[in-house]
Symmetry: C2
Amino acid sequence: MDIRQLQYLVALDELRHFGEAANRCHVTQPALSMRLRQLEDELGLTLVRRGHRFVGFTEEGERILAWARAVLAAHDGLHAEASVCRGQLVGTLRVGMVPLAGFEPIPLLQAFAAEHADVRFELKSLSSEQILAGLDTNRLDVGFAYADGRHERKYQLFEVAETTMGLLFNRHRWRFGRPALDWMDLESLPLGILSKGMHFRQSVDHALQSAGVALKPLVETDSVEFLVQSVSAGLCCAVMPLGSGLEQRDEALELLPIADSHTLAPLCLATRRGDPVSALAEAFQQFVRERVSPDQG
Amino acid sequence: MDIRQLQYLVALDELRHFGEAANRCHVTQPALSMRLRQLEDELGLTLVRRGHRFVGFTEEGERILAWARAVLAAHDGLHAEASVCRGQLVGTLRVGMVPLAGFEPIPLLQAFAAEHADVRFELKSLSSEQILAGLDTNRLDVGFAYADGRHERKYQLFEVAETTMGLLFNRHRWRFGRPALDWMDLESLPLGILSKGMHFRQSVDHALQSAGVALKPLVETDSVEFLVQSVSAGLCCAVMPLGSGLEQRDEALELLPIADSHTLAPLCLATRRGDPVSALAEAFQQFVRERVSPDQG
DNA sequence: CCGGCATGGATATCCGGCAGTTACAGTACC
DNA sequence: GGTACTGTAACTGCCGGATATCCATGCCGG
């Protein structure tokens, strides 16, 4: 069995196409096909459901796939470790982050990239559950996700911020004259909100529910862009996280904190536990620890 | 980079000899030497300190070695998983166990082997610390060790027995007429004990200390064999774990429990946490769970 | 102090196998 | 029938391994 074969397998899983997978692996399609069939022979299993085109993996294929990812993760870790030993950090750091978390990781990535010229990023916008699952299955190296002590057994966590809600509104249409609002204030306002199923919507629902406020949205959209534009136009207000910088998109926008709104689990930088530890993830975590102290993220 | 190269590296670490390592890998010594040098070139590092003979690994070599073990562990896991998919369990289960734990894992291994003809065992007698470290570094798959909630974050634990101490003595020389003894009873008796540094000695010391009993050993030996023979001859008594079957070695031997002696951490079956989970270790753990209920191990 | 021998690893050369390529065939779907 | 996608076939070049040899050190007796 060979590392290459496992790479082929994973590539096929991700692209679901023999030719494309072969491309990504920089080989021709017959080579990939043959090597995969060879792998199946060696293992004595059928991994791929074959039709006139790629159909999917068998049950066994999926299980082998999980191990293949584990092997490749360790393989990548070895190379990253070697890079560190050579005094350089290279490789691709796969970062997952929850959108609208009231915490902007991009500057962190920028600063990290500035110190380590050869590091590349693969940034994915995911829900907390997807991030933690991605860490499990070796699809991510680090993630910014909502997590708490419950998860500490499986993941290394470092709290980077508490999410505090605020109200985003058009300063020309509304004026409150107070530094902070109350959930009750929202009841009389036309609210815009993200569609059900989006992660931040769940956060807002949760916050509203614990505050005992009923929701009567005027606008419901699956696009943050549309929502901000609606607020900007003065059509409605919207609950948004503080610290997201949304209010700077338009001079008409203002973002006031809402009292008692940090009822969510804190936002944490999560990494896999395990020995040995990924050098890249380790370095990034260390970097974040030095840069971020909780409560000021 | 190739799996084989990593196998060579690990073999060299374990045997500390190029020729021997090559033997274990079923290749000739030049092949191993060249492939290792090639690996060093690829990584751009010096892994092995070379002299006229094998000296040791460099600092970087040690770190790479840890990753190599991780890769190989995942690699083995993949093959084990494949075996399971084929409906058979094959491979080598590396088991660590603390000696004199008052729990006999051998029958378990026998029963497991009876159900899975193609499973081999690699059994090592180690201290609890060594076992947990061995799980970390992929040198062991499962282990019977003293552990408690403190370790639950890193290891999957299943309590198989509480270690209860007993007094092993010659029934012809001593007679107590009670079903259980007290720590105080030991103060007037000539005691035999294992040398300092052996794991069970620490357990005994710990138990005696918490019972407030001072220790005046008559016999001190680093051999369990000698100790049992001393007791058998009537020279001394010895604190031993219940359930070890020691009393059956000689009809003159008797083993009486000591009240309040289960002050140790419980003996647990420990396995690595991680995704994916080793099929062999998983099956064994499941097997043990079905066979063993705590308090009757 | 020195020559011979054993040990252990590096080097040189040859060879066979296999991964990958190119070209082509088969098959479902439009 | 054309297109898109995968499997098959023959060829080729690379590379990993074996065998033979060399080199350095350490140990020994004389």
